[in-house]
């Protein structure tokens, strides 16, 4: 039986003809970095506007252009793929058991040389 994911609109069969199940996981969300109204922001591809400014790689150089004036050989830069929001992202896999973590940390181990020491970053 085919299903459509309401998070990503992907379509998949849950049961395969070979008798196995398929566990759908949403792909990351694609966004392009644009300058709009003077500010840089990330927008979904469906929301790109011809007047948006994007950074592109042109003849090996990073440059900026509006989408309307982009050339076929330009490579749009700074796209990002981010996880979907928790209420949207669907992962049909069975949750694995939580890892066993000791509540009390082990004794500090002896290192070869303390040097100048260290501090939390």
């Amino acid at each position: 039986m085919a299903f459509k994911c309401l998070g990503c609109d992907g379509v998949f069969d849950e049961s395969r003809s070979d008798g196995t199940l398929y566990f759908h996981v949403c792909p990351p969300l694609l966004e392009a970095r644009v300058k709009r109204n003077g500010a840089w922001l990330f927008v979904g591809l469906g929301a790109l506007q011809a007047t948006d400014t994007i950074a592109v790689l042109r003849a090996g150089e990073r440059t900026e252009t509006t989408i309307a004036l982009a050339q076929p050989g330009d490579v749009r830069l700074d796209d990002r793929a981010t996880p979907r929001a928790a209420g949207v992202h669907r992962d049909e896999n069975t949750a694995p058991p939580p890892p066993a973590v000791e509540k009390t940390p082990p004794k500090p181990r002896a290192v070869k040389s303390e040097g100048a020491g260290r501090a939390p970053a």
């Binding site: 979904g44 490579v75 069975t94």
Partner: protein
């Protein structure tokens, strides 16, 4: 019942071998991990009671289909296990799909203490595992299940992404996907990323670019060229034999992807082992 000088039970002579002694508190616990529908694991064997009778054993239990553990337990009684074998009914898994383990446990509750393991390995509907005889096998050893499957067909302007399911380990072999580009003038460049769920550890990139209003098939594998010129198939070379743990992903990342660009569902060939979580 026969006893030796110290009061311990003694197997009746001329009836059976020494076997594996069970007190009345010891249970046999069969645990299975499985990825195929309708699988039932059947345990059969012979048991020598302290009264000197050889009685047959036969129990079965359903396996889960999501690679999580399913168990059934039974108490053979007081005496000696002579032999035990496992087989699958209800479906026909191949090696790599149904992994089983038989433990001797004290008690039958969740906190039962495991005392010994008699059988561990992959079982099918025709290849049994047996005690004594079968080696204790790691689920990641040997050949896995050669699995060809179709992934999710993503919506337009969405990248392809497939995740190794919980309880599995993959060896990536090859994949094919198709990209149909919209009319927006720009050269798309298809890259394939392998990541651990967040961090990319391997990238492959198609040799050519794909213009607007075109359909191109991408062949992802360890071959980086087409031996014969092919206008519609473009190779994406990736290292051979990549091992992917549960939660790792293979996904596309397309330079210049546009709002109307549309990928097909990916068709993948992987070798899969069960890796109990």
């Amino acid at each position: 019942m026969l006893y030796d000088a110290k009061g311990s039970p003694v197997a009746p002579a001329l009836v059976g071998g020494l076997g594996f002694y069970f007190t009345g508190e010891d249970w046999l616990r069969v645990t299975s991990w499985n990825s195929l529908a309708s699988v039932r694991v059947v345990a059969t064997g012979r048991f020598l009671t302290c009264a000197g009778d050889v009685v047959p054993l036969s129990r079965d239990g359903a396996a889960n289909t999501d690679r999580t553990a399913a168990t059934f337990s039974f108490r053979p009684g007081d005496g000696w296990l002579q032999d035990l074998s496992l087989i699958v009914t209800g479906a026909a898994p191949v090696r790599g799909q149904t992994f089983v383990r038989v433990d001797v446990v004290r008690g039958d509750s969740a906190g039962a203490a495991v005392l010994s393991t008699l059988i561990q390995g992959y079982v099918t509907a025709t290849k049994r595992l047996a005690w004594p005889g079968s080696p204790i096998e790691d689920s990641l050893a040997g050949q896995g299940w050669m699995r060809s499957f179709t992934g999710t067909d993503p919506a337009a302007n969405t990248e392809v992404s497939e995740t190794v399911p919980t309880g599995a380990r993959w060896r990536f072999l090859s994949a094919v996907l198709t990209l149909v580009t919209d009319a927006t003038v720009a050269n798309r460049s298809v890259r394939i990323f392998f990541d651990d769920g967040a961090n990319v550890y391997c990238r492959g990139c198609a040799a050519g670019v794909q213009p607007a209003s075109a359909t191109q098939v991408y062949n992802i594998g360890d071959t980086g060229f087409n031996a014969v010129a092919d206008a519609v198939t473009d190779p994406v070379p990736v290292p051979s034999g990549l091992r992917l743990l549960a939660g790792h992903r293979i996904r596309s990342s397309t330079a210049n992807i546009q709002a109307g660009d549309n990928y097909s569902a990916i068709q993948m060939l992987v070798e899969e082992w069960l890796e109990p979580a």
